[in-house]
Amino acid sequence: MTDVFIVCNTIHELGGVQRWAQRVGELLAERGHRVHLVGVFAVRQPHELVGTGPDGEPVAPRYQTHVIHPDRYGARPRPALLSRIANPLAYARHRRWQAVQRSGAKRLRALFETASDPGDAVVICAQVHAMEWVAPAAPRSLPVIAMSHESYAAANASSRGRRVRRLYRTAARFVSLTEDDAREWTRQGMNNAAAIPNPLPIPALGGADPGARVVIAAGRLSQEKGFDLLLDAWRAASGNRPGWTLRIYGSGPQQQALREQAEALTAGAGVDFAGQTGDIAAALVQGSIFVSASRAEGFPMSLLEAMACALPCVAFDCAPGVHELVRDGVNGLLVPPGNTEALAAALGRLMDDAGERATMGKAALESVSAYAPDRIVERWERMISLVLR
């Protein structure tokens, strides 16, 4: 029975990292560990955290929650080098911010000290920004497992790549979501890199009907998820295949633009914006193909969910997380990112062949067993006991 502190930037939200933290927190707590979910900042409209009871009903979560700065909603960025020198005010603000960070670290350290056995406690730091609090707060005797929830490439496209290298270098382990990302980090000199994927969020029950003439896509309607590219590809794929529907679940900033783009398609292209859904499994089993046109992904949960419902996936090969899940020609089809002609061709190939949809769907269902929650939580327990040695 170990004290596990999972530290995120915020916790009362439904972003990818928070969902992961809530899920893994639940799983570890079920195994009997004392789990603490720690948010560094508060959230303006907090989402209530719930656990799942034996029959799937919502119950109180098995983990404890803590917020370090209950009255703050985000970070103040460090002013740039020159303005620190040129603008004394910015510098003063920066110094004040540093004082806030120091007091936060102190509070976090006090929280760590509540562990029942100081020799049997670990910290999982899920985001690099939170590491600015964890690093000064965790004593040497308390091992820290650091995490990056995005691909190596995505981290390095922002300042996070540099911060990961700086702040995570001394963590006992540095966990990425895919083996490819861990390998890339190792190549860059992160000698503590390892990988544990996300657990499957829904039970792997299959259920999709390969005969249905529905293609499903799901995700936030933002530029990053590439629905504009998907609609381009759909125009070509649906052109001479009447009777097919593209059903898109989700909402987001591009909703209006995408609706307009869909309406501009020739009549009968059959695009259906189905909005957000509470029961993704029920939505997925309506279709026979899942498509993802994302421009960037960390570890794509939507693909994992679709595969758990036995849907073959067609996707842009935009990140290691995608090709770790989808093996081209086995349980789905991969195409070069941005190449909408190729995406249309891949969709067409599956739309024309119900037999292939069935075999690939079956293969997809089989390949998600590695992500079953008990398998993933076992890997976490092994890692926790390793860093405690």
């Binding site: 020159l82 496209a157 382990r173 190792t186 190549r187 190449n339």
Partner: protein
């Protein structure tokens, strides 16, 4: 018996890992080594310090460490063993951990090493886990350079069931980057090949347990080999585990660096014989013979090479004994090792050593000393030290021994690529042969340069200059013209007169060692640069006025450093450890000696270390000036507010890569017009080849940023750095660099796949263009729309193509053919393939040698690779194929070519203006069009035969080779249509039109 100062811990559970730290007289560095273990992320470990009976403060320091940390124990051997074996063995005996690792007191472990090792060992139930060892070279100025050991072997995690699965593992002979199961070292659970496991007491060298051999240097070699042979499961992990600190020019060389002592040679050979015995026993037990071959090949390419490098610099007695011992040992190696060893120069060396051919062996040694050999990926760039000979299309090291098959096999160095390296990239050995003081501070140096395969013809127009520059960082360099240079006896002889005192002004301290480079120009072949080497300083290297000691007194000259004579006052001619001829700045006067003392030592003494650290810190602080973030802010906030410099123009071509393309032709037209505004050219790496009458600024330098910020005009064909903001008062003329066949901008998958932020950045970058040169309405439909340009299209065509439409183009072509030395009576075909997704070597998809054999009589093929690729022209092609990839101006090549062969390169659109035959060869047509996407189907619209296979291509080339120049052919109509559709605005006056519009009327004003 070792004495133990700390009582054995019996309370806790056994540690997972024991790290045995051995130390001898190293009190200063021991705490750092132990600390690197105590700071491990694995905590359940112990440290056993084994002291080889030190005589310094080691005992006190180690005892204190053991007292302070309960996980540290200290053992002291009763008497000094003089090596690493006895202490490590004592450490194994004292260890209580499940696994054992070794650490030397001057090295450190990576903080995750033990955890990584333990995890791999447990996960795979391994006897032996091995990780990456990084050699950290600490040089004189206190800077470090990290070199991983055998990185290619450790690229990925590998799990091996025994060494047979990876015989090359024997190359990694270190014992320290590894983690051993203790039971394995003590003879338990071993396989039956060489060590049979019974009993629990695996003490000493009783044949059952694995221990280091006492009484030898290079104990690691035997120990690691035996461990590999005995291990049932070996895991290699890609993580760095061990930092091996190598102090360059340490006051006292460490054991493994004392190669010049003959006893080390004896020890090394003896150890290798012991390893061979162990392998023989293992083979008797059913082992794989490949392991022995791999081990022998490693001996040739590693051990032999280590000694060969400085062999010519040794004493005659050493050389005699060395050659005897090595010859005897080399005879015991498996013949397959000579065949398979990838290091062909080492094999040639081994063979010449066996044949006792000293003169040719020396040239091998000279080649091995070249540093390029160790770092360069391109072998062809390594120093060529022999004149080489060619027989039946193969290249051999020398013309001796070629009458026997083994001789031919060993001396075949075709694979080094020296026969087809362009002259300007060749690294030709240039040796100092004479040196003489002439009085008045003048010295005459003479030498020779090899002429491999007679590359430099007898009638070549030779000229040479010498460049004197610091070995470390060439901030200052000086050039001296050669006094004479001539072709003689197959080689090139040269001489120069120089006055070091006057010519060379060193700064002092930072640049104490200077090397001399020869720049040898041979007519149209270009200029080759090489460092000057010397086997020994010539007998004449003394001062004629100082006759009392002819041989030992080196030639010296007064020196005048910029930091005054307080940092050095004399130049001494010398040969450095790389065999290079150098001029060393030395301090003779007492002040200079005192000032330079802290810098000249190895950096380990406390005082010099402090001085160096402060100097380094200051230097690093100063480097912030060149931080890109600082540059960016200063540029945006400060430089762009400076007043505009009226009439100033910044030119750039291919991101500073060369002086070429349309910007070049606009620049030339500008000069012809007598323009007097300030003109800059940007260069990326070297300013060679850029116009001397412009101000040259290095890309991204401060001068470059200042020029851009204040310029009235920017002229470029690709793009200035994306982050650089253009002022509204600046006019940006984007000439672009080719009509598009493959999809660009928003039509290209790569751009469509970009995230919002990157898209915005790209849009902003192209939004800077004010004017965009186009060749046709097609460009407007493709490029202008794809980049969503707001720039005004200039319908004038490309300035680079003016030459193709010039009225005197035929005369110019004739002149160029003469200058390029193109033989009469052969048609010239220019082969210009486009870029493929990977840079580096490019495979044309047809056999160049076969092409040469079939068309060599009638055609000359000029191969022009994309600037990110290069093509290997085989030796057999002879003079039928010429690599012109480094020729700066492709337009001139187009002019001399009678026809063009390409795949998808935009060259086709330009070349069509000449109305000469076009041939297409695209073996990857289908995949290329699919991956990149094209605006039209080239196969349908190609104005010439479009081929995808070699036979088809050769048939088309046959047609081209047979046709008369200028004859009307089947594609004449298609070609005209093609030229017009894609180049309707080309009139041959593009440069003039651009100059007239933007720079006209101001020429005389300033």
């Amino acid at each position: 018996m070792p004495s133990e100062t700390a009582p054995p811990d019996v309370s806790g559970t056994a540690p997972d890992v024991t790290v045995v730290v051995i130390v001898y007289n190293d009190a200063a560095r021991l705490p750092a080594a132990v600390d690197s273990v105590l700071r491990q992320t694995l905590r359940n470990l112990e440290v056993v310090i084994v002291d080889d009976c030190s005589t310094d403060a080691t005992e006190r320091v180690a005892t204190r460490l053991a007292a302070e940390h309960e996980r540290v124990r200290y053992l002291r051997l009763a008497q000094n063993s003089g090596g690493c074996s006895a202490p490590r063995n004592a450490g194994i005996d004292a260890a209580r951990g499940t696994y054992v690792m070794f650490l030397d007191s001057d090295d450190t472990l990576d903080m995750h090493a033990c955890l990584n090792m333990l995890q791999a060992a447990e996960e795979h139930d391994a006897d032996l886990v091995s990780g990456v060892c990084v050699r950290v070279h600490h040089n004189r100025s206190g800077l470090t350079e990290s070199v991983p050991w055998w990185p290619e072997m450790y690229a990925e995690q590998r799990v091996l069931d025994g060494v047979s699965q990876l015989p090359d593992l024997l190359r990694d002979t270190l014992s320290t980057n590894k983690c051993y199961r203790r039971a394995f070292l003590n003879g338990h659970s071993l396989n039956g090949h060489s060590l049979n496991g019974h009993g629990l007491d695996g003490h000493g060298l009783d044949g059952h347990a694995l221990r280091f051999p006492v009484g030898y240097h290079y104990e690691d070699l035997l120990f690691s080999a035996k461990a590999y042979l005995a291990a049932d499961r070996i895991v290699l992990i890609p993580q760095t585990v061990y930092f091996w600190n190598v102090v360059v020019r340490a006051a006292q060389k460490s054991i493994s660096n004392r190669r010049d002592e003959i006893s080390n040679v004896r020890d090394r050979i003896a150890i290798h014989r012991l390893i061979d015995e162990a392998i023989a026993a293992w083979l008797d037990g059913g082992g794989d013979p490949e392991v022995k071959i791999a081990k022998d090949a490693k001996f040739i390419e590693h051990d032999l090479v280590l000694y060969l490098r400085d062999l010519p610099y040794q004493e005659p007695a050493y050389i005699a004994e060395f050659t005897g011992m090595f010859r005897d040992y080399l005879r015991t190696l498996r013949p397959e090792a000579f065949e398979r060893c990838p290091h062909r120069a080492a094999v040639a060396g081994a063979y010449l050593l066996l044949e006792d051919d000293w003169p040719n062996l020396v040239t091998v040694c000279e080649h091995l000393l070249d540093r390029t050999r160790e770092s360069a990926k391109a072998l062809e760039r390594t120093r060529i030290t022999s004149d080489l000979v060619e027989h039946d299309g193969r290249v051999y090291w020398c013309d001796a021994h070629l009458d026997t098959q083994p001789g031919r096999a060993a001396l075949d160095v075709t694979g080094l690529g020296w026969s087809h390296v362009p002259y300007s990239r060749a690294n030709l050995a240039s040796r100092l042969t004479g040196m003489r003081a002439l009085g008045d501070g003048q010295v005459r140096i003479e030498g020779e340069t090899v002429n491999p395969l007679g590359r430099i013809p007898r009638d070549a127009d030779l000229s040479a200059s010498f460049e004197i520059r610091p070995v470390a960082r060439a901030v200052r360099k000086y050039r001296v013209k050669a006094a004479e240079v001539r072709h003689e006896g197959g080689r090139i002889l040269w001489a120069a007169q120089l006055n070091p005192t006057k010519t060379v002004r060193p700064v002092g301290i930072v640049d104490q060692v200077w090397e001399v480079r020869l720049r040898l120009t041979a007519g149209r072949l270009g200029t080759a640069e090489s460092k000057i080497t010397a086997l020994r300083l010539p007998d004449g290297a003394h001062d004629p006025h100082d006759l009392h000691d002819l041989h030992d007194k080196p030639l010296t000259f007064p020196a005048r450093p910029l930091l005054t004579r307080a940092v050095g006052d004399e130049w001494v001619a010398a040969i450095n450890h790389r065999g290079l001829f150098t001029l060393n700045l030395v301090a003779r006067n007492p002040i200079a000696r005192a000032v330079t003392a802290p810098f000249s030592q190895s950096g380990t003494s406390a005082r010099s270390a402090r001085v160096l650290r402060i100097a380094q810190r200051l230097y690093r602080r100063a480097q912030i000036v060149n931080d890109p973030r600082i540059k960016r802010e200063v540029y945006t906030r400060l430089l762009t507010r400076l007043p505009l410099r009226r009439g100033s123009v910044v030119f750039e071509s291919h991101m500073g890569g060369s002086y070429s393309d349309s910007p070049k032709y606009i620049y030339e037209a500008l000069r012809r017009s007598g323009y007097r505004g300030k003109v800059y050219w940007s260069y990326a790496k070297s300013s060679a080849g850029f116009p001397k009458d412009a101000t040259l600024v290095r890309r991204n330098s401060w001068a470059y940023l200042r020029a851009l910020a204040r310029a009235e005009f920017w002229v470029d064909n690709q793009g200035f750095p994306q982050w650089i903001r253009k002022r509204r008062v600046t006019t940006y003329i984007q000439t672009w660099h080719g009509t598009a066949l493959k999809r660009m901008g928003v039509n290209a998958p790569q751009v469509r796949a970009m995230l919002e932020a990157d898209r915005t950045r790209l849009a902003k970058a192209v939004g800077r263009f004010d004017h965009f040169l186009v060749r046709s309405e097609y460009d407007i439909r493709t490029l202008v729309e794809a980049f969503e340009l707001r720039a005004e299209p200039l319908r004038v065509g490309y300035p680079r193509n003016d030459l193709l439409l010039a009225p005197d183009r035929d005369e110019r072509a004739a002149q160029l053919r003469q200058r390029l030395d193109i033989p009469e009576g052969r048609r010239v075909l220019l082969y210009a393939p486009t870029f493929r997704n990977t840079s580096g070597a490019f495979e044309p998809g047809f056999d160049l040698a076969e092409f040469a054999g079939r068309f060599g009589e009638r055609l000359l093929l000029l191969v022009r690779a994309h600037y990110l690729n290069h093509v290997r022209v085989p030796q057999e092609a002879g003079d039928a194929i010429r690599d012109v990839s480094t020729y700066p101006d492709i337009t001139e090549l187009m002019l001399v070519a009678d026809g063009l062969l390409t795949d998808y390169s935009s060259v086709m659109f330009d070349y069509a203006l000449l109305d000469r035959p076009l041939l297409f060869f695209a073996p990857d047509a289908r995949t290329y069009a699919q991956d990149r996407g094209t605006y039209f189907d080239l196969a349908q619209r190609a104005p010439g035969p479009f081929t995808t296979g070699q036979d088809e291509l050769f048939a088309a080339v046959e047609g081209f080779a047979g046709a008369d120049a200028g004859a009307d052919d089947a594609y004449a109509q298609a070609r005209k249509r093609f030229a017009h559709e894609f180049g309707e605005y080309e009139t041959g006056t593009a440069a003039e039109q651009v100059v007239a519009r933007f720079f006209g009327g101001r020429g005389g004003a300033r």
